[in-house]
Symmetry: C2
Subunit: 343 residues, 2 copies
């Protein structure tokens, strides 16, 4: 049982509206997976149609002129779904307190299996890879728009509006987007939200776009110079691209992620650079998920994992980063990203 | 104790990032209010700076290259904050399951006070009214941009990109926005997300903008005709404006909201119209909160309540709605909205 929006989306297909936070006309959707593999979804009737056809949807009232206790209704539906159970495997942190308390009141033992769920989600089937490919095409459209919009005198928010507009046109509607869009000295901060800073001569633009299309997220990053970049930044950018290529070449079934992490960092370090963040991470129904590509871990890549790799380097008043997404196979990884990585 | 983002914002000032859903590098912020009135906030160190100066912030790790059990850390901090308590008043539905389970394990009794919290949040102090006024100015900028962008041949997404861009420029950065933006026959559906429909001769545009600026939400709605609106829609629009004026005139301390609801519906009905939604609702750190302006309830207005009123009418292939926000006082209500309501 889970109310993690990413796990709900993974098991039921429901991509919850998230752009304006939790709705007062809903309660968190909860998925209950039967040992036989079938999924039951407790959700608001306003969201019920978002579930896949083979999901047993138990809806509680959505928008209503009357007052409705949606949290109570949700807990009631969930409790009905596990009636008779003595123990339930749960993603405990994500369960609403009302559900957790109701289960406790019934004397049902809870086993927290959140780590197992995260591991299971990391391996994608063909349909999921296609959904991510589709989302990445939307991110590519955003990257192209950001690059085209970059010009001295325009503000970060101007670039952002065109970038987001291009992604929403490509997607055919509004989509949630996590993004870094920073220019000039702000690129040294690794990332940040677009503001009213105007682009100046000699600036870099660092743009990391993470749109969700349907239930699946994309990820992409590029760094673009408004004219001639400083030599230090150019060298760091070259090194980041080499680090990315080297990391991708290593992305094969059976590889330890810490080896990929070490190789990417080493390549950047050889050019005198470094980055304070992870080398990469899985993407799917969450924008950061397993496998995290970091050091000091025994994670190993498996076929079907979808991994975003994003080495970079950050100096005094400048920062560069490049990112592509790959699918792990038995042989060479497949690169899903199609955006321009040129500085 | 509450993990409702709106209550957390109300008690601590923290406006959580919400546009891309819950962050994998955080856990839900939890506020613990001491009987002496002081607030303690358990949150990620990445969000800690968002809290007001007088809040006792207990931070758990945020973004990290290492693996961190943020849900566990959050539950530990929260449990420490209520150490020794035998009973805690909680907003139960909002508590993470890990926190609810940890409290239960300690034998701490939980009293669900969510309804009391919602009632308390409904009455705003002067500072909150100013924050809402500021957010409404941003919504006004969006309304002006939508009206200016309306032209035959442009798509809803085109209008949306300009509208959102204008609001983000007015706010100086990215902001979450809930919105209806529909044209032509889609206005009959009351609302909906902008899509790739192109504006045609004779169309109406229905645009309902709900941006959050800082921790506070605004709300606003207008209906705009691309040229001459059909006579039935014009009549319904006139009636909706009269209903809005009548509802606002009734917004005084001591008025029963069901009387406001009845008056607005009656005015629209006299012109042959009707609307299937509420007449209004409170706004604040949530975009829909108490007092809901509906029938069949004994809610009564109090000074300091901030109420959005939004009568409309929907027919065969058309729909109209107008909305303004007012502050309830002992005398005449103060209108916060400044956007153009003309058809």
């Amino acid at each position: 049982m889970s109310a993690d929006l990413a796990t709900v989306a993974w098991l039921t297909g429901l991509a919850t509206d998230i752009e304006s936070g939790p709705s007062p006309f809903s309660a968190a959707p909860v998925v209950v997976l039967d040992p036989d593999g079938s999924a039951l979804l407790a959700t608001s009737e306003d969201e019920a149609e978002g579930a896949a056809d083979d999901v047993d949807v138990r809806a509680f009232p959505g928008f209503a002129v009357e007052d409705v206790d949606r949290a109570g209704e949700s807990a009631r539906v969930v409790l009905e779904a596990v009636a008779g159970a003595r123990a339930v495997a749960v993603d405990l942190a994500t369960l609403p307190g009302t559900v957790a308390a109701a289960l406790a009141r019934e004397g049902i033992d809870l086993a927290d299996v959140s780590a197992d769920l995260r591991r299971a989600r990391a391996v994608k089937d063909r349909e999921e890879v296609e959904a991510i490919r589709h989302a990445i095409a939307v991110a590519d459209a955003g990257q192209a728009a950001a690059r085209a919009a970059l010009a001295v005198g325009r503000t970060e928010l101007d670039l952002w509006t065109e970038t987001r507009g291009a992604m929403e046109r490509a997607a055919g509607g509004r989509i949630p987007v996590l993004a870094d869009l920073v220019t000039g000295p702000r690129t040294a901060d690794v990332g940040g939200l677009p503001g009213d800073r105007a682009v100046a001569q000699g600036d870099l633009l660092l743009v990391d776009l993470v749109p969700r299309v349907g239930a699946y997220w994309a990820d992409s990053c590029a760094t673009v110079a408004v004219d001639e970049a400083p030599v230090e930044a150019r060298r760091a950018h070259d090194a980041s691209r080499h680090a990315l290529e080297r990391a991708i070449a290593l992305c094969q079934s059976g590889t330890r992620v810490e080896d990929i992490d070490a190789a990417a960092r080493e390549t950047v370090a050889e050019a005198g650079g470094a980055y304070p963040h992870h080398t990469g991470h899985g993407i799917g129904t969450a924008y950061h998920e397993e496998p995290r590509v970091i050091g000091g871990t025994d994670r190993v890549l498996e076929p079907g994992m979808v991994v975003a790799l994003e080495p970079g380097a950050y100096g005094d008043g400048w920062g560069v980063r490049v990112e592509q997404v790959v699918v792990v196979t038995e042989g060479k990884p497949e690169i899903l990203s199609g955006h321009d990585l040129a500085l």
